[in-house]
Amino acid sequence: MGLLNLFKNFIKNKKQMSMMEQIQQPWPWYVAGILIGLIVPALLILGNKTFGISSNLRHVCAACIPAGLPFFKYDWKKEVWNFFFVGGIFGGAFIANTFLMTGAPIEVSPALQSELAGYGLTDFSYMLPKELFSFESLLTVRGFIIMVVGGFLVGFGTRYAGGCTSGHAIMGLSNLQWPSLVATICFMAGGFFMANIILPWILSL
């Protein structure tokens, strides 16, 4: 009987914040980290696939615009699983955004808030600053640099480095590959340099 009461109390406490409400809150880093880490064995066990998303950009080139380049001359159809994986990411993001959100603004650290306010970025209602990521923003200098130049660097850089955050930082480091450690350190170094030294200037344009 004692155990049953304990269980009832546990349920009662839990009910103060329902399951749905808990899911709707932003998830803590350890929940996200564990789930993302488990993708590594999941893909390996489901079919010997190594985690890596930027390869999809290459497969798109190989499938649509190979232009006779040797780098895009391979059997991309063997990599179709990765398109399914990315399709899943798309679907999961849609589900989360449609059903699992509170609609509350993103909590942003006060230091970043005040820095961004200096550049006229004050809208924290979405995951992305609406002032920068919109079709209209493409016609502004800073919007163009952030979306078009930024995207180009992501595509060029990941392929030059042979992987991105998933392929090198998570998959490569999980497999104790030292080239992936070099790549990860460079990702971070590049990011720190851009975010602290160059981005403030771009945002002020």
Partner: protein, 161 residues
């Protein structure tokens, strides 16, 4: 096409498909299922947020370091156990993970990707999640990333590696 040559081209990239088994196309749905979970985590843990990435690069928040750090620890333990216990795939195949070979691209490319990561606030995974979450303007970023990948393929032999 010559198979050996394909292997060669792939050897210094992240995409080496280790499985030699052939399966019907619908088998790929299992990867879509894993992707759905990943996509939900991306949004719910705000990993796709431009603000979270800016905080990470300004050391204003532990969040992203916690996410990536935990993922690496869980991934490393999993890979260790898979190797130690000789775990097979659900189709009974031996699990193989290709080694990454070092070349200078990991330095130059890594820095360039770092620039792009800080600008767009997204690595390739979150870019796809943005579209699912309704930020259609990010399509421009993805198209530009495809253009960047293509440009790399065009100049590959002229770049230092």
């Amino acid at each position: 096409m010559n198979n050996e040559k394909v292997q060669n081209i792939d050897s210094n990239t992240a995409c080496v498909n280790a499985s030699e088994q052939q399966h019907p196309a619908w088998y790929n749905l299992k990867y879509a299922a894993v992707g759905i979970i990943f996509g939900i985590v991306f949004v719910k843990a705000e990993i796709i947020s431009w603000f979270r990435i800016q905080e990470m690069f300004r050391l204003q928040s532990f969040h992203m370091f916690g996410v990536i750090g935990t993922a690496v620890v869980v991934g490393a333990i999993s890979v260790f156990l898979i190797k130690k216990l000789k775990v097979k795939t659900i189709h009974g195949e031996e699990i193989k993970i290709a080694d990454k070979e070092f070349n200078k691209g990991q330095i130059y490319g890594g820095l360039l990707f770092g620039f792009g990561w800080a600008l767009t606030g997204a690595c390739p995974g979150p870019l796809f999640a943005h579209i699912g979450a309704g930020f259609y303007a990010v399509l421009v970023v993805i198209l530009s990333a495809v253009a960047g990948t293509w440009t790399y393929g065009y100049f590959k032999d002229k770049l230092p590696h």
